[in-house]
């Protein structure tokens, strides 16, 4: 009788173990499926963003970052560049936000064309952007009416920062000049010491360059 009972218990234990194994395996399978499903759903979104980051990394300066200039209180940053074809229709500028959401203040930008006769460059395009659209280490795109005859013309890109009420600023990273570039970014008006002291870098080398990319009105950019 007791042997039967013992056998019965072994049988019941076996059933219990089998039930647990079945449930846990089913749960593991469903979890793995769910995980893979989420991955499959998120992958295209991430791939697009990764490709964008790669493109920015390819096209922007590849040297190390030497400083980042906080844009506030009328700071002016300018840099010369040569347009290499007609149809200049936009600029992409890499920005930093020190991992914060910038305050919604406005920065003005302008594009100035250098004439051949060395006279004062004239403003051909201008606009503004709100600092709070910036994402840390990503690029902001400034689009404008295409300049039809931009090929082989030297331009100056200029940003003038507005006043930020808070301490959360947008800034522009400066990169080591690749191979002694002639036209380094010029910070015309330096950051206010009070602002610069709030955790942002202050050393601004004279030959560093902005991460600036010119866009042209043609398919493919």
């Amino acid at each position: 009788m007791s042997e039967k009972r013992a056998l019965g218990r072994v049988h019941e234990c076996g059933i219990t173990i089998a039930a647990w194994s079945t449930c846990l395996m089913a749960l593991a399978a469903v979890t793995a499926l769910g995980f893979r499903g989420i991955e499959a759903w998120a992958r295209p979104i991430f791939d697009a963003r990764i490709e964008e980051l790669r493109r920015v990394a390819r096209e922007f300066p590849s040297g190390g970052v030497v400083a980042a200039v906080p844009l506030s209180d009328g700071v002016v940053v300018r840099q010369d560049f040569d347009a290499f074809q007609d149809g200049l229709c936009g600029l992409r500028l890499r920005v930093v936000t020190w991992q914060k959401t910038p305050d919604p203040y406005t920065c003005a930008w302008s594009l100035m064309r250098h004439a051949d006769d060395q006279s004062t460059p004239e403003i051909v395009r201008c606009g503004t952007f709100s600092a709070d659209v910036a994402r840390d280490w990503e690029a902001i795109t400034l689009l404008f009416e295409p300049v039809s005859d931009s090929a082989a013309v030297r331009y100056t890109f200029r940003i003038k920062a507005g006043s930020a009420e808070g301490a959360n600023l947008v800034g522009v990273p400066l990169y080591a000049s690749p191979g002694g570039q002639r036209n380094g970014a010029r910070v015309v008006r330096r950051p206010h010491p009070g602002k610069a002291a709030s955790g942002h870098p202050q050393v601004i080398p004279s030959d560093a360059v902005l991460a600036l990319q010119s866009l042209y009105d043609e398919p493919g950019w």
Partner: protein, 495 residues
């Protein structure tokens, strides 16, 4: 015990039903579901895997100095046993199980999602007798949907919490809170007390703010002594009390006497204004789980009013037996807030006068503790209104509505598009291959040694410091990784 008293399943279907009803299986199910939810909320840790912040340095330390040395001495100010356990587990999973040490960031991401899943699911396992099952699941749902700052885009800071090892320490406060609650209401024998106390010891050896929470574990002994007239000798001889004493001695032995110094930051602590403290402690810590959709509309006055209202409601409309718990929940949140104001005053600047919720990692645990407190309160209200059939479901409905609002305002499908991405683009693997070829071998201290057991890998443009990995692991990973896909990685990187 006679066999007739033990119920064994005789049919497979009955056995399955028993398993599905078992608290352990429900806990495992809740953990698995929460893991998937957390992955959906912050996929960047897995999709663009990099060793984030201190995870990078801790990986080097675990590899070169071992688990215990890193867990006890990686930081000067306190131990980080829990964080290092996750990093160690990720390294073992990647290296030993997977055979590719460079998968460690992905393994760490999965382990971290699972850890947060465990934290969210603890009430399902441990608080079944304290809360009705529906309320345990409500606590789980609220923990899974706890907002992490999506409304202050692009500073959503969930990406630095979920899927990372560096910021899991904060969640140990929630674990400690649940364990203390369970200990005070359930634990009777020294065996279960020792088990729970071992968990509490890990919490204290990870997040030092858990240490003051231990004082709440004296409550049952104190209650027996004061209310039921138990003698002092009887109280001291109680096995759960003895286990508690061993726990306290263990905590002091591991952590030492808590110090107010800030070795992590050389500068003086930033003083916090009254408005800043109200924002940090009451708005961000205490009432945030209820008011977060309107967080930017808050001010000092409104926050104080909301806090006072909440405290009155919690104190008046609650079951008497739940008052100590609610007091402990609110007290724990305020305690953390005071410590933050003293040691991390700069957080008030980050919050910027109800503009941002970043950095959410500092407030996540308090919000979860407060959520649990609210769930307990709601459960008590439902218990009171049990005779009013439909009204008794109202508190549960309220909790579910809060969770639904959270999911509506912070849906995963929007989050995945808004995350801060870091990309090494296979750079670590490429740099490791180069270091292996150039024989950049070092000993445990980082000194160059041709026979050194570690490879020192510096990834240009990614992190300032190098990472040191076991030479054997790197070689195994290179062998395991097919050459054609490595070439693809190199090609991508070169582009």
């Amino acid at each position: 015990m006679s066999d007739t008293n033990v119920m064994y399943p005789t049919r497979f279907r009955d056995a399955i039903v028993q398993v599905l009803r078992s608290p352990v299986f429900q806990f495992v199910f809740a953990t698995a579901a929460a893991t998937i939810i957390f992955f959906a909320r912050a996929p960047s840790a897995y999709m663009t895997p990099v060793l984030f912040a201190e995870d990078w340095d801790w990986t080097t330390m675990v590899v070169t100095r071992g688990f215990w040395d890193t867990a006890l001495h990686a930081r000067q100010d306190y131990c980080i046993v829990g964080n290092i356990a996750l990093v160690w587990l990720a390294i073992q999973l990647a290296d030993v199980v997977w055979g590719d040490i460079f998968c460690a960031p992905q393994c760490l991401a999965v382990i971290s999602y699972a850890f947060f899943g465990v934290v969210a699911s603890l009430p399902v396992l441990l608080l079944r007798r304290q809360l009705r099952p529906a309320y345990c699941w409500a606590a789980w749902l609220l923990a899974c949907s706890m907002p992490l700052g999506i409304h202050s885009l692009p500073a959503w800071s969930g990406f630095e919490i979920l899927g990372r090892g560096v910021n899991v320490g904060y969640a140990f406060l929630v674990v400690a809170f649940v364990l203390v609650w369970y200990r005070n209401t359930e634990v009777q024998s020294w065996r279960s007390a020792a088990l729970v106390d071992a968990g509490l010891l890990v919490c204290c050896a990870t997040n030092p703010i858990c240490i003051p929470l231990l004082s709440a574990t004296v409550w049952p002994s104190l209650w027996r002594w004061l209310r039921h007239g138990a003698s002092l000798g009887e109280t001291v001889r109680n096995t759960t009390f003895i286990s508690l004493c061993v726990l306290v001695i263990g905590c002091v032995a591991i952590n030492g006497v808590p110090s107010a110094t800030r070795p992590h930051h050389a500068e003086q602590p930033v003083s916090v204004s009254f408005d800043g403290f109200v924002e940090m402690a009451f708005a961000r810590g205490l009432v945030y789980p209820l008011v977060w959709p309107w967080y930017r509309q808050l001010s000092t006055g409104i926050t104080l009013l909301a806090t006072a209202g909440l405290c009155v409601v919690l104190a008046v409309w609650t079951l008497p037996r739940q008052r100590p718990l609610i007091a402990a929940g609110v007290g724990a949140v305020l305690l953390v807030s005071v410590v933050l104001a003293m040691c991390r005053g700069e957080l008030a600047t980050c919050l910027g006068g109800y503009r941002n919720t970043f950095p959410d990692r500092y407030f996540y645990a308090q919000n979860l503790v407060m959520t649990l407190t609210l769930v307990a309160w709601a459960s008590g209200i439902a218990e009171r209104a049990v005779r009013l059939r439909w009204l008794s479901w109202l508190p549960l409905g309220g909790l579910v509505v809060i969770a639904v609002i959270s999911i509506h305002f912070e849906p995963p499908w929007r989050i995945s598009d808004s995350q801060f991405l870091m990309l090494d683009d296979g750079g670590l693997r490429v740099a490791a291959r180069r270091c292996l070829r150039e024989k950049v071998f070092v000993d445990g201290h980082g000194t160059r040694d041709p026979d050194g057991p570690f490879v020192e890998i510096l990834v240009p443009g990614f992190r300032a410091g190098p990472i040191r990995l076991r030479r054997q692991s790197v070689e195994r990973a290179m062998l395991a990784h097919p050459r054609h896909s490595l070439l693809a990685t190199i090609r991508n990187h070169a582009h």
